[in-house]
């Protein structure tokens, strides 16, 4: 589904990604771990199409199609979803209206009519129950005044609404208490199928107890320096990242 080949990316001429190779197949869960500043969030943003990042070398293929030149919204229409580490507050647009716009713009891009209002309401009800989101919450301005946990739950709610092929969860566990973590992870797991895939970017093992990865990759200095199975995450939790850095620098 997703193939990343020798990806180099920089922001303001500063190289951040220095040759990433990664393949994600349908039905898989990949975890990307690594110390601060290793390039995890940059990788997420580059895949999602943030314009500040310039791809200087390599390519990103989605279903064998090069998506380098596609705008963020076009990538979204093709099924890429990014759950933000810091979701942006948008005063004046309610959660519901934002989702209606996002869904109908995506349908428009696919040549479909707007979703009928009753169908939309049913979908919103269903998905908000999945994420244990209060109805009142949906009429509030997007992310404005939301707690850290509410913001992250709202991200996964949006993911549930949009049903992406490839979901990238960028530090979705940060700022979550244990109950919120359980709800969020439960939501992600229920959305999993053999046709979609998830990339979980995290610092800690904690989230991976709930969303169990098939593969774990360690990012350091803009490269994947080690890949393994879920046991690697446990090892990192115990030993920290220093041994990885040493190994990589050796």
């Amino acid at each position: 589904m997703l193939k990343i080949k020798n990806l180099h990316a920089s922001v303001e001429d500063k190289a951040i990604l220095r040759g990433i190779n990664l393949e994600v197949k349908p039905g898989e869960v990949h975890a990307i771990m690594g110390p601060n500043g290793s390039g995890k969030s940059t990788l997420a943003s580059v895949i999602a199409g943030k314009e500040e990042y310039e791809v200087t070398e390599g390519e990103i293929l989605l279903y064998e199609e090069n998506i380098d030149e596609l705008a963020a919204e076009e990538r979204a229409h093709k099924g890429i979803f990014l759950s933000f580490q810091y979701p942006v507050e948008i005063p004046g647009v309610s959660v519901t209206n934002f989702m209606k716009t996002a869904i109908n713009e995506t349908r428009k891009a696919k040549g479909l009519e707007d979703m009928p209002a009753n169908e939309m309401l049913k979908l919103i009800r269903e998905k908000s129950e999945l994420l244990e989101i209060d109805r009142k919450f949906l009429s509030r301005s997007l992310n404005e005044g939301f707690s850290g946990g509410e913001k992250k739950r709202n991200e996964i709610f949006q993911m549930a609404m949009l049903e992406p092929k490839l979901a990238i969860l960028d530090e979705t566990d940060s700022g979550l208490d244990i109950d919120a973590l359980r709800i969020v992870a439960n939501g992600v797991n229920k959305l999993k199928s053999k046709d979609n895939a998830v990339i979980v970017i995290t610092h800690y093992q904690r989230l991976l107890d709930y969303i169990v990865p098939d593969f774990v990759h360690v990012l350091h200095n803009g490269r994947i320096v080690k890949s393994g199975t879920k046991e690697l995450a446990h090892e990192l939790e115990e030993k920290g990242y220093d041994w990885i850095k040493e190994e990589a620098n050796a």
Binding site: A71, A76, I90, T101
Partner: protein, 437 residues
């Protein structure tokens, strides 16, 4: 002949025509003298530092339109908030149009300034209210000198007016260039409530200059909600001078929606003459091309325990220019005043500009006054966030700008106006906002 000279020499003819024995004869004569002394304001005047009238004063305006024009309702229906039942006072080229108007009323006055000025039964009202709060500056004085027609509205005590009142001025442009000076007087008595919508609309490509004066008196516990829809074509200019005198516990709000016009200047003045008064001044401005909009507000807190809320949002495209000058005066006696002012602007183009200037003069020591001005571009992180959800760039921009102006709309009490303004905003921003608001 320069416009100033033309106006002064027209005054004699005007006076002879409208009856030299009129009770306001002296007021008019005094006013034309003030205008003669002061002339049109220039950029040397502090209050006009960022707005030049030069480009609109160069036309050879006709001051007295000759022909009476007829307009069919269906051709101009779209300029009315036609979705609701309302009283309508309509003028064409400064003359009352009885066939477009709808003023059948009971227990209140929804009628004409010309009637109020001339009929003996209104003499006391004119004596007590006419030109009592309008300032003696040159443009207001010019209007006073030529004041003849406009809306006269008087709501007696304890009356909730059953439907909004729309005041609409059309100009048809049979003249090569037309200058209009509408004059409105609105008196709302104790415990009464009225909603008014005002619009100036040119139907011609010829230049139109409107110098309008509106005096509003809100007596004890009165509630007045006033909506100004300024979406005229780019040959028409408007100088709106509005003065509001509030008595104790009255609530007045003025929403100014400015999307059109070549040059628009709003002089909006609130005087709080009583305690526990609430004044609201809100505005949304979205302009482009070479349009110019200048909001000049004054809230004068005279007595204790009053509030004022000002919130103006502006979006400037192309080479458009904006001015916001918000003055708040708090007298020494006006303790416990709570005055809030905000002016936020987005410059969409590199060539657009805005000059924003809060001006606070506070003489009391136990008050809460806040003000904030911002000028910015669209938030890039918000743009990426929306686009990453599949909302294309243009729609995301529109939605963000809509959201930016949205909290000004939240205080609009007539849903049909809110819908209309939302539609205009969506059209202005070139987006289809995909949901009902």
């Amino acid at each position: 002949m320069e416009l100033k000279e033309k106006l002064i020499s027209s005054f004699l003819a005007f006076e002879n025509r409208v009856d030299i024995d009129s009770p306001v004869h002296d007021v008019r004569s005094e006013a034309i003298k003030i205008f003669e002394t002061q002339g049109f304001p220039t950029k040397k005047d502090e209050a006009w530092k960022y707005t030049s009238l030069n480009s609109i004063l160069k036309h050879d305006y006709s001051v007295f339109p000759k022909n009476e024009n007829r307009i069919e309702y269906n051709d101009v229906k779209k300029y009315f908030i036609h979705e609701i039942d309302s009283y309508k006072i309509v003028f064409i080229d400064g003359k009352y149009s009885s066939h477009l108007s709808q003023t059948t009323h009971d227990g209140l006055d929804v009628c004409l300034m010309s009637a109020a000025l001339n009929k003996p039964k209104y003499q006391l009202i004119i004596k007590n209210y006419f030109n009592k709060i309008a300032t003696k500056d040159s443009l207001t004085s010019l209007n006073t000198a030529f004041s003849q027609e406009g809306a006269y509205i008087q709501i007696p005590k304890n009356k909730i007016v059953d439907k909004p009142i729309q005041i609409i001025h059309f100009s048809t442009g049979d003249e090569s260039a037309l200058m209009q000076q509408p004059r409105n007087l609105i008196v709302v008595n104790e415990n009464s409530h009225v909603q008014i919508i005002e619009r100036h609309q040119s139907l011609t490509e010829n230049p139109v200059l409107t110098n309008s004066v509106t005096e509003i008196f809100a007596n004890k516990r009165a509630i007045v909600d006033y909506y100004k829809v300024q979406n005229d074509n780019e040959k028409a200019s408007l100088i709106d001078n509005t003065f509001i005198n509030q008595k104790q516990e009255s609530h007045c709000s003025v929403h100014t929606f400015t999307f059109g016009g070549k040059l628009t200047r709003n002089n909006l003045n609130f005087y709080q003459n009583g305690e526990r008064i609430d004044s609201t001044l809100k505005g949304v401005t979205i302009i482009g091309n070479k349009q110019h909009v200048d909001h000049n507000t004054l809230v004068h807190h005279i007595e204790p325990n009053c509030e004022s809320h000002q919130d103006y949002k502006g979006i400037f495209n192309d080479s458009s220019t904006g001015v916001f000058n918000g003055k708040v005066v708090v007298n020494k006696e006006a303790q416990k005043t709570n005055a809030f002012q905000a002016n936020n602007n987005i410059l969409v183009s590199d060539k657009a500009s805005i000059n924003t200037k809060p001006q606070l003069e506070i003489f009391a020591d136990d008050v809460k006054c806040s003000h904030g001005c911002t000028i910015g571009q669209l938030d890039e992180s918000a743009m990426f966030y929306m686009r990453s959800r599949g909302i294309p760039e243009k729609e995301a921009k529109g939605l963000l700008m809509y959201a930016f102006s949205n909290n000004v709309l939240s205080s609009v009490k007539i849903p049909e106006i809110k819908q209309r303004i939302t539609k205009i905003i969506a059209t202005k921003l070139g987006v289809n906002i995909g949901f009902d608001l």
